[in-house]
């Protein structure tokens, strides 16, 4: 137990003692108390602003949901305008445009080449690949530009065949470009 005589002048020891532990009776630093008062003031202001006033503010979750909704809306809008203007003729026109064809080729080479082959013949070194040959005039699910786009977007109608729906990975315009590339490789 600390002897009261040894203490500095201004320090007093409180009377209670537990398991030999005693407590000084000293003031907290002013700045420490100040942070405590600030917290109280902040609580009042925050409570008033959040629950008593009709203010609304966006949380990160709200902001994220808003951005996602915006992306979804833009996608839908793009789809809508594309569907409104898109005709077999317009996609056919895209297949004459080198920039669209080049963009479609790049997509084809990363996503489609594994099944349909780099020359669209669905063959590699003479071996048959699982895809359908795209460089002939035969079409399983329709050869019109919009029908091709439908197959790319929604996948093969026969789910056992393995062609997946690419709509989650390609935007409508990318699908159109891919279709344009395929059409540009059609025999005359």
């Amino acid at each position: 137990m600390t002897d009261k005589e040894d203490l500095a002048d201004h320090v007093t020891l409180r009377d209670h003692e537990y398991d030999g532990i005693q407590e000084y009776d000293q003031k907290l630093p002013g700045w420490w108390l100040f942070t405590f008062y600030i917290a109280i003031a902040w609580f009042i202001v925050a409570w008033f602003a959040n629950y008593q006033l009709p203010f609304t503010y966006t949380t990160d979750e709200d902001a994220l949901a808003g951005q996602l909704a915006l992306i979804e809306m833009r996608k839908n809008e793009e789809l809508k305008t594309m569907l409104a203007t898109l005709t077999d003729e317009s996609v056919q026109e895209m297949s004459q445009d080198p920039t669209h064809v080049a963009a479609g080729k790049a997509i084809f080479e990363t996503k489609c080449v594994a099944c349909h082959g780099s020359d669209l013949s669905a063959k590699i070194n003479g071996m048959q690949l699982p895809g359908v040959a795209l460089n002939d005039a035969e079409w399983l699910y329709g050869g019109k530009p919009l029908e091709i786009m439908n197959t790319i977007t929604n996948g093969s109608p026969d789910v056992t065949k393995g062609m997946i729906a690419w709509s989650s990975q390609l935007s409508p315009s990318e699908v159109a470009q891919t279709a344009a590339f395929i059409l540009s490789n059609q025999p005359e």
Partner: protein, 464 residues
């Protein structure tokens, strides 16, 4: 002029009995440790200042690119998903700090902590330059408001603010790089409101911390400071006073007195306001000011140096310090474990990434050609130049056809792509499921990385 408060063990010198702040003005000190602390501080400040400017492998030496989620350290690039390696970095560093603390006490606080370095090597020097020595500063504090006081205060706080602004800008350059920072500086604050706000906040924090808060942080807030008592023991090297040699204090002429001449120099130079002769105290940041101060006095009185010195509590009692103790062994072990794991994972880290995953949909497809699996191959380059990926598949079962990765893939700097890969086994060659591996040789760098996947299919007996 107010009297200097006499330090005691029961309360803080820097807090008055009524809770108000007693602003400390440590006196000037010269000596071996002060000199080396200056040199060391200058080196650390130079490192802090120069790291964003030095380029290694095309990126600043340390560049935490938050916007792109790419983190560059001395030529190594980490992606957000490499963050787990940080666990070993921080445990390694953490136990490294434990280790140093167990051996040498608060060596970190006095010599390397950025807080101390900024405070002692920059802000206190500005104060010394503008306001004069400790006596003059105390006098100025107590003086009534006058033209001179206003001028000195404005100059001092103006310089504080300038330095804080500068430190804050350098800090931000670690996250946005120097060229971008320069671009931001030239633009209107409204265009980069968030970063501008962060910069202002940082400047405010630095200004507050170093102009007013000072030692309060080390004594009351710093978590590392607060766990000292759990990390040190009687064999830890701390700064201490040799009571056996020094006591009883008295005049030099007094033949009964010890070596301490009660000049109080050690108290006057202390930045946290303690009397080191009261023993080891939680306020002590191990700055060694009192050692230099006492050594000077000992030199003058013709007595040997080291009345206040770096020693362990055991050493100060005249016994031998045990350096190798279970605590030290344990911390060494933990530190080595963290460092070894970090080293191991860093050598396995490459400037490119490959990832082979199954395509969504059916696990496998059957048709006349045989069994077929479809995969997605993700490729990432972390290099800042065009990168080429060349694929090989070792140990592929006979008859298997792989398509999609015949050609070399070329990615532009920092780009990533996704390829479709297809593996097909003819019916007559198919003997069951197997594991295969795609290896890719990456140029430039000429290293090989790989990822493996399972080829799934039906039981081969059901096929015929």
């Amino acid at each position: 002029m107010p009297a200097i408060r006499k330090p005691n063990l029961e309360s803080l010198t820097s807090i008055n009995p009524d809770g108000s702040r007693n602003f400390l003005h440590p006196a000037d000190v010269e000596g071996k440790f002060t000199m080396w602390r200056r040199v060391f501080g200058a080196v650390l400040l130079a490192v802090y200042l120069l790291l964003p400017w030095i380029k290694i492998g095309g990126y600043p030496a340390v560049f935490l690119d938050i916007a792109e989620r790419r983190f560059h350290f001395f030529g190594l690039t980490f992606l957000a998903e490499d963050l787990w390696i940080g666990f070993f970095l921080f445990t390694g560093l953490g136990f490294g700090l434990f280790y140093v603390t167990a051996l040498f006490g608060r060596l970190w606080c006095g010599w390397t902590c950025p807080y101390t370095v900024f405070l002692e090597q920059i802000y206190r020097r500005i104060e010394r330059l503008v306001d004069g020595d400790a006596m003059a500063r105390r006098k100025l504090d107590a003086a009534k408001l006058s033209g001179e006081k206003i001028a000195k205060r404005s100059i001092k706080h103006g310089l504080y603010l300038l330095v804080s602004l500068f430190i804050a800008h350098i800090f931000i350059s670690y996250f946005v790089s120097i060229p971008r920072l320069y671009q931001f500086i030239q633009q209107s604050p409204y265009e980069n409101a968030k970063i501008f706000g962060v910069m202002l906040f940082l400047t405010g924090c630095l200004y507050f911390a170093f102009s007013w808060f000072r030692e309060q942080f080390c004594i009351i807030l710093c978590p590392y400071g607060r766990i000292q008592s759990a990390l040190t023991d009687d064999d830890t090297i701390i700064i201490g006073y040799d009571e056996g040699r020094g006591e009883p204090r008295g005049k030099k002429s007094d033949p009964l007195a010890g070596d301490c001449v009660a000049c109080n120099r050690c108290v006057q130079v202390c930045p946290t306001g303690i009397d080191i002769r009261n023993g080891l105290q939680l306020e002590c940041i191990g700055c060694a000011n009192c050692i230099d101060a006492c050594n000077q006095v000992m030199d003058k009185t013709g007595r040997p140096r080291g009345l206040v010195r770096y020693d362990s509590l055991r050493g100060l009692e005249g016994k031998k310090t045990r350096y190798w103790r279970p605590r030290v062994a344990l911390y060494t072990g933990f530190m080595c474990m963290g460092v070894a794991m970090l080293g191991l994972f860093l050598t396995g880290l490459h400037s490119a990434k490959i990832e082979l995953v199954r395509m969504p949909g059916q696990p496998y497809y059957m048709d006349d050609n045989g069994v077929r699996n479809q995969y997605r191959l993700n490729l990432v380059t972390k290099q800042n130049q065009e990168t080429r990926f060349k694929f090989t598949i070792p140990d592929l079962p006979e008859g298997a056809i792989v398509s999609g990765i015949e050609e070399t893939v070329v990615l532009a700097a920092g780009e990533e792509t996704m390829k479709t890969v297809l593996v097909q086994m003819p019916k007559d060659k198919y003997t069951g499921e197997f594991l295969f591996k795609i290896e890719v040789t990456v140029e430039p760098g000429d290293f090989t990385i790989s990822d493996s996947a399972e080829f799934l299919g039906p039981s081969p007996y059901t096929l015929n």
